[in-house]
Chain length 345, copies 2
């Protein structure tokens, strides 16, 4: 059982995913700053898991508060964690949920100890809910997968990216348990190789037939009719269905359309940002060029070359066959579909 993040009496214990699959090591974060840096450095990553980690970070932020410092500590933690990564909306969703819980506790004149316990419980609840959410996404998505499916996926969307079995990988795991998966093609996902380091590791662990490919090989597999469908996760889905996900997703979506292959996006409701009207409104994190010009500490390009390194790209809604959520599958027109599913939220 992989546990990529957990709350352990006054500390947030984070599996350092930068070291996988070579080494399984854990970071013990005792301060908000340590949690924030773990998120920024991608020791912990994956949109839903960033949300969970951010929530634990908030609980940690008031762990040593006195009545006179509670509000200041809470605000400082909130501000620090929300500055870690801009794209995945699950982080902001989780922070807002923690903020609401905090406000309610304070409004009800709870003691500082009660507020601390309340926020820890809220974070644990977010974590536990995500596990259930993943199971539902898996179940809903598996209905879309035919027998003998050959599925292509990108980046990592499994147990290492969520609080449960995963989003896109949760669908794959569920379909595999139903005996329907004949092959999963895992994009290695440059620059940080979440596909080869993390997804390949998870697929092996669950004995799912898997083949690792370079991102640039997906098109040839599609032309050779080796790919029956594509399933990816998402970091933020706008109100019209445009969505941001790991860089490379947009190209896969275009290629899927070109080859007549269904293209599915699996994500929890917390990934939908209906306050952003379309993809142009989604902030895209630009990371250091060194992630492209070196692998680990090994330079793979001349030191002075400039590199472009957006972590995400935006795929317009028109390329999406369906969104798979814990509340069901949403097909076009998306705006109406989102309204129908999420008005209950």
């Amino acid at each position: 059982m992989i546990c990529p993040v957990r709350w352990s009496d006054g500390a947030v214990i984070i599996l350092d995913q930068r070291e996988l699959p070579g080494r399984v090591t854990y970071l013990t974060c005792r301060t908000v700053e340590q949690v924030a840096r773990a998120i920024e450095s991608l020791a912990v990553r994956g949109a839903p898991l960033i949300g969970i980690t951010g929530a634990y970070g908030m609980a940690l932020g008031i762990r040593r508060s006195r009545p006179s410092t509670l509000e200041r500590d809470f605000t400082a933690a909130f501000d620090r964690i929300r500055r870690t990564r801009p794209t995945a909306v699950n982080l902001f969703w989780a922070l807002d949920k923690m903020d609401r819980a905090y406000r309610t506790l304070v409004r009800n004149r709870r003691t500082v100890d009660q507020v601390k316990a309340g926020l820890a419980a809220e974070a644990l609840g977010i974590h536990r809910d995500d596990a259930r959410t993943c199971r539902m996404i898996g179940k809903n998505g598996a209905c879309l997968i035919p027998r003998r499916a050959r599925i292509l996926t990108h980046c990592n969307t499994g147990s290492l990216a969520t609080g449960g079995i995963g989003t896109a990988l949760g669908v794959i795991r569920t379909a595999h348990r139903q005996g329907k998966v004949s092959m999963v093609y895992a994009d290695e996902t440059r620059p940080l190789l979440q596909g080869s380091r993390l997804t390949a590791w998870e697929l092996l662990q669950h004995h799912i037939p898997a083949t690792l490919i370079c991102d640039s090989m997906a098109a040839g597999l599609m032309a050779g009719e080796m790919v029956g469908c594509v399933i990816v996760g998402a970091d933020r889905i706008a109100a019209n269905g445009d969505f941001a996900n790991k860089v490379g997703t947009y190209g896969l979506a275009v290629l899927s359309r070109h080859h007549g292959i269904p293209f599915y996006v699996a994500a929890p409701v917390s990934t939908f940002d209906l306050s952003t009207s379309n993809g142009r409104g989604i902030p895209i994190e630009q990371r250091r060029g060194e992630e492209v010009t070196a692998i680990g500490r090994i330079a793979t390009a001349p030191a002075t070359i400039q590199a472009h390194n957006p972590s995400f790209d935006v795929t317009p809604a028109r390329y999406v066959t369906a969104f798979i959520t814990e509340r069901g599958v949403i097909t076009p027109p998306f705006r109406a579909g989102f309204k129908a599913k999420f008005d209950a939220r």
Copy 2:
């Protein structure tokens, strides 16, 4: 001045491109087997340069022949070198050229020393001709490049892949000298990173404005209208215009079509294989999965994961805006265009 391969009185000196850009080291090949392994291991690569290297290997193969062993040595060298890599047709073109030269020398009752000198001269001629060919490709291709061009390229097609300034990169260098290039986006080109290791190095050397990207980032740049045209090389072009090139090329071609971006293929006449009617007839080299699962000696994936590793993919002719050759630019319909240009061959 880069000299990736040269003939030095009884040896073939090969720049070991696997070590670039970190180290500039040369392999001194004194046997056909050493030349063959340099080609197989990608110490030397690039379709035109493989042809040149193969030709030098043939000259090397009879270097120590006596009259009684000449024919056997020639045949052994021919058979060994033609088994090195299957896709780039330039190798077979060069071997056939060396074979014709050998047959002519033998038919004319030359001495063994004259045959040795004749084959060395033929190989040097192939090398020298390729330099002129590159200049012509550069000149012909630069006419297609508009002012302030933003050009995307894949793999390495420059001085490290040819006997001259390059094919696709030769066009870029020529257009740059004409003041027309505002940015070159170089795909890093997984799995072996010829883009980051070799193309980035060449672009820096020639002071051409350059940005390195992961292969998966090209689609997003196209959507953002950052790419004005794509130019790639080729390893084999069939009679109908279908062509094989470094894996990832086909995806770029589809993306170019989707975004309305011209897609050019720059290659010498020696890359055209009119005896292969279409892309289905081009053999695609499959290489070891370890090239995908490790970078250098560093594992980037679990040891037991299966990896897919075709070195090339095939792009159907319909995605090609024009072929750029030393004899001019060929636009559709290609079959007629090839006939018009190559009947003089």
